[in-house]
Symmetry: none
Subunit: 211 residues, 4 copies
DNA sequence: ACGTAAGCGAGACGGTACGTCGTGTCTTCGG
DNA sequence: CCGAAGACACGACGTACCGTCTCGCTTACGT
């Protein structure tokens, strides 16, 4: 996968120093636009090349598949957004009130998942990752886990403050409220709302059984 | 979508009474087999037709897409499995020990998700459902929700027994342990084990905060 | 070929006495109309059946091919025209002036060949006959030769009158003026006119060499 | 039609300078071979492509129809034969004896029409030309008329020599012996022989009426 | 008069070929 | 010497007809 940093053992990339930055950007833009317009399955490499004003070979030279192009385009989009947002931290706030902090972050996540600009490509990537293990691995590693790690950090801090039982595994704990939201979004099993995410946090923190 | 009960407003199906049961079965078998053998993306309608000994048109006559064929084939597989299992109830056991009951069911689910016979087609359908809302809707309605309803029933019973707080919404509550498992399976975010599902049940029932 | 009267040695026709005259007529009409409208190659048996309000099998029951249907339809058209024209003889007039008689008949032929009602089907049949020897044989036997025989008769009469050399073979002689006209019509090698057919008769009767 | 020289007003051909000569030749060969083997109607574009080891698209890129492919293949065959024959003139011999010269050429024509190598494709093209005016036009222009022009030349020479009446139109005169032969061949109206063509020349030159 | 067997309209079926589109490779040519 | 342009072999698409095969349903015999 092109995303890897280390040199692939097989055929290596051409000289990256001579690469046209112009083309790279145009391809990212075209790919994201097309996925938004016609959906992932109808987005073709030929169309991306045509829209980007680029030869097909220029795409095949640097990426191995449509999914690969889109994945890098999406990563790039994220980086750009991050830079645009300046140094605004992605860390989860730590006001001392764990429930409130988690609810706030999940509400922000709800908003983000509803942003149509991100929806089409991220949904496409998630779907491809379900079926294509290689891409899925990269998707999780590069995009998903870094986000989840923020929850791990906040939960550890809560453990130190005594708000979470010390024997709880934060990496599993975060799934109690993150995964339900993810599933509702991915599989349209049910709509989501602020109320819903708030409830998730309450249930997760205090459990279902009577205290 | 062929799965719909109501007559479609657009072009209607041909006379279903004259339909060849033989062909229908052969197509289901071929579709499931091929998805298992070469994966969903490389499964083509031409190959299904050839393998089933059927004209392509016979597929296009009754289904609107590859995804539609596979969905029905999978539904049919489920029905057959259900019938084969006779009246053996799918209900979640109710021994009075809620945690034990849930852990047992989730362990069984883990086993099922690992069964390669079911994995390829269900993964394919789930992925398609992520990106194709119409199919996703049917997938959820016909396959997912009926299974989830069983948890709702068991949780309600637990509420009556006083094992779950009465103000808890069972439909949301079940997501605390089902969705994390689903996400690990779908997105390969992390491997799953009996330990993991046991932990999920414990966290969900008793919460993360100190009691 | 269905046109044959004698029972074919192989599979025999179904009971002809129960045949639906209504369907037969409707099929002839539909076939001729369609050939006129969309041309022979785009005329399909399915379309003929649909247009005639007839099941496909009713066509396959009585005819062996599209060409066969059209041939019979055209023969029937000719018979109908003949009957409509009453007993008006098709014989070539014999006024005693051979050249004038031939010119008159050829002028009538020119008119007929230009009648669009006849053009499409007869052109289609002629073309099919070029490539399909079996049909070509029937076409020539049933349609072409009977017409040519009329010229043979007239030329023989002229031989008796001393207007044609007695050693001339009339069957060959008629081709001197009939075939050129046929070729111009069939192959669009050149347009035809009354002048042209008059010239043909003159050349044929008196030769090219100085007298 | 691809044969046209002028740029078509509609969609234009792709860049002809990059065209694969190899493919072109292989397609010609495959087309002619297949027409010879299975006949024109059973010759499919798919089969031509497969036999030629070529993608279907490469055929559709350069030709508009099966007939068009075959026409060019046949024209090419003629050109190759012409080149192979070197500068050997195609002109009709002029020994001074017009009748003998014509008889000789017609006898050669009879032989050529019987050559199975030429028969299948030329018959197929002629048939197609009967029904498809556009192709017919090209067929006549490129193949038929150039041959007929040779007769025009010889007849004019005969006129200068006084062997043909000066008021005779050579373009019409040649049809007296060429068209009958053509019709017998095309429509199987009757078999042909050297005797027959000899007779045609005699009748045509000296007429049917007593001298 | 009444089955019963045929022709009939209808149309689903297994196939073949169509003409188009996209893939990934390869070659040509211009900046 | 990279990159745009695009021709190429390949293969799947979804459609159109082919010719065969049931389906009921008349319709007309032959007992």
């Amino acid at each position: 996968m092109s995303v890897q940093k280390s040199a692939a053992p097989g055929k290596t990339h051409p000289d990256a120093t001579r690469r046209s930055e112009r083309s790279r950007r145009a391809i990212y833009d075209a790919a994201l636009t097309l996925v938004g317009e016609v959906g992932y399955p109808k987005t073709t490499i030929e169309a991306i090349a045509a829209r980007a004003g680029v030869g097909k070979q220029t795409i095949y030279r640097w990426w191995s598949s449509k999914a690969d192009v889109l994945l890098e385009a999406f990563l790039d989009l994220g980086e750009q957004a991050a830079q645009a947002a300046g140094q605004e931290s992605h860390a989860i706030p730590d006001t001392g009130d764990l429930a409130a902090d988690l609810k706030a972050v999940l509400r922000a996540t709800v908003d983000e998942l509803r942003d149509p600009k991100f929806e089409a490509p991220s949904r496409a990537l998630a779907a491809e990752g379900v079926v294509n293990e290689e891409l899925g691995r990269v998707f999780v590693t590069k995009l998903l886990e870094p986000s989840l790690q923020l929850y791990v950090d906040r939960l550890r801090s809560a453990q130190e403050a005594g708000d979470i039982r010390p024997d709880v595994d934060p990496r599993i704990a975060l799934e109690l409220f993150v995964s339900p939201l993810a599933q509702r979004w991915l599989q349209h099993t049910a709509p989501f709302s602020y109320d819903y995410t708030d409830t998730l946090v309450d249930y997760a923190l205090y459990g279902l059984a009577p205290r």
